[in-house]
Symmetry: D2
Subunit: 207 residues, 4 copies
């Protein structure tokens, strides 16, 4: 039986006023299928977000962690497969940090794989009438940083916690002045998250 | 005072099982802001759809006609500006007709402009938090055919009826196996149509 | 027998340093298949470019006119089908003019069709191993303005001159900092123009 | 002083008749800047291509290995950053093999980073007037398989050989019937490879 799920979103960054991941997390119910849902919003900061996700896992002791982030320009919600031991960006995080090929954990694994059933999640989202895809790169910005550190912590501590990351497209209101950029409604994003959680619990905890 | 609005959608065509324009029309209310909404679903047929739209305008005597169609692959709902006196396609309509540079009305104007306030509609859809764009081509398939014949009829008869056309993206369920193809939720499409009607009535009939 | 062809390009506009249409015209040979090629570069100016194209047709008396322009963001070279009697833009031309739904020729036809064999041109470009498409909108900026006025002049004067317009993608060097924007090499663009001229002469003048 | 470079391409696969990587390799000179260029064309086969690349490195003892592959649908040539220890595909290789989350080297590193100066290569390709990008995923098909095994072999043997992978867009002739799919000319692809080799030799071997 799963008892607790941790879902996280990010604050807006760059020139954006909203972040779909924050809005989805805040709009999500506090329990889902009898499981307690713990929510947190992470800052778009290499210096702070990594420590926060590790502290959250330590404090909350969730059975499942699903971090959400914005992938502006992607057409489908992306269930991420892999987190890479590298920060690299040509744009600043919200602290002004622009990492240049910076290793996240010195001596850490070059990459970790998601422990969510990513293909089943994609299959079930599609069965709900929504598009989705497995993605083989979560980028090298703060999203990948948080994803890597969550998987690294769980691996090093030998925890059974399942950890995954989902990248969301822009919301419709974000693309009003970005002709040609794809978007997804908030309602549909909530469905994506519900299916991701339900599929994961069903596989590992037979609720 | 406007009394009647005619909205039309199309049946599915090609390999599609659904047509967003049909679903939007069927889901729309029967009155909107005190105005009666008359609905019709047109066949994707050069031979039949043109006659149907003309008969509908003649019978219903609407103040406003908004025809809707599917533009699979477009990212934003497109408020069409112009209808052209030509049918041309490399794919068949639902009767198997593949017109090759066929004039719609011999001796008719080469093109007609929409009589909706297309820029105001786009501005107001954006103010509703949704993307939209003016489009300068409705293609040369059955959508443009119906759009041209509606404008031609109104022009030749000297009617005050306002006529426009809106192309809709795919629905989410249509792109599940079309990676990279943009989509819009049905709810958001209904908002698009509401704003288009409201903006038009407000401009010409001061409701 | 065709004796003279007029090809025109445009100067750079907006933030661009180059215009592929200018580079193609300047790099083109002065004779092609025994036909004299007259070249001109038009300013991106509603006030000046229309008068220039009309003066050029009057002075040069070409058998064929092919105007070229940049359509940044399009993937394939576009053989334009139709010119519309309207200027409309949300960006300024090089004189700072931003037309708002301005009719080009008061009382003129709402639209004119290209007199080039547009489908044959696309077919022959593809047979040369390059992509191409017929386009149903040349936009409503200076390109369409010039295209409309050339067709209008030829129509009003009853000339046999064949008139067409080709929109070109960006050159590779223009997209270096525009990730995701398609491009075509200058060499391939020259082939596109050669095939367009050859196909037109072959059809109408049997060279 | 570098003495030998190994460049590899792949045969066509799926419904394609050509593979840009094969054409670039075959069209490349046999020496470049005084360095011998050894060429090989690999089969699109999980079973055979990995063994071939390892045998080639063992036999040729190259200073630099650059493998090339087709990434149909990508707009810019992609200098790959990372190879992942996983084969996964929903399409078959040329032997009919469709791997489902299959580890390449049991107990091997989860990922290896390219040893080419990938950012310098992108910078220098752009300085040559062509677009390019660093990519964070080489997919999980035969390209990634070969890339991973080359890096694994070099790592395990402790060789100084520099290993990288470049994904190429479609050639123009491949997209004639794929409207909207980006493409790059063969000439420009040859420049991309020259710059990649030159930048690598210059950095590590000061030619």
């Amino acid at each position: 039986m799963a008892e607790k799920i941790l879902i996280t979103g990010f604050t807006p960054f760059g020139s954006e006023k909203e972040n779909p991941s924050q809005m989805v997390v805040e709009a999500f119910d506090d329990t889902f299928c009898g499981v307690e849902v713990v929510k947190a919003i992470l800052p778009v900061s290499f210096a702070k977000a990594g420590k926060m996700i590790v502290d959250l896992i330590e404090d909350v002791r969730p059975d499942v962690v699903i971090c959400l982030g914005q992938a502006g320009g992607r057409n489908e919600p992306s269930i991420e497969r892999i987190a890479v031991n590298l920060n690299d960006s040509n744009k600043a995080d919200n602290d002004g940090d622009i990492p240049e090929e910076r290793v996240i954990v010195s001596g850490g694994a070059s990459a970790y794989f998601s422990s969510l059933p990513i293909k089943d999640i994609v299959k079930n989202i599609k069965a709900s009438g929504l598009p989705a895809t497995v993605s083989n790169t979560a980028g090298l910005f703060v999203c990948n940083h948080v994803f890597y550190l969550a998987l690294h912590y769980v691996s090093v501590r030998g925890l059974a916690t399942k950890v995954g990351f989902i990248h969301l497209p822009y919301l419709p209101q974000q693309v009003i002045d970005k002709k040609g950029k794809p978007y997804m409604s908030l309602c549909d994003m909530l469905t994506v998250l519900k299916v991701a959680i339900g599929t994961t619990i069903n596989k590992f905890y037979k609720y």
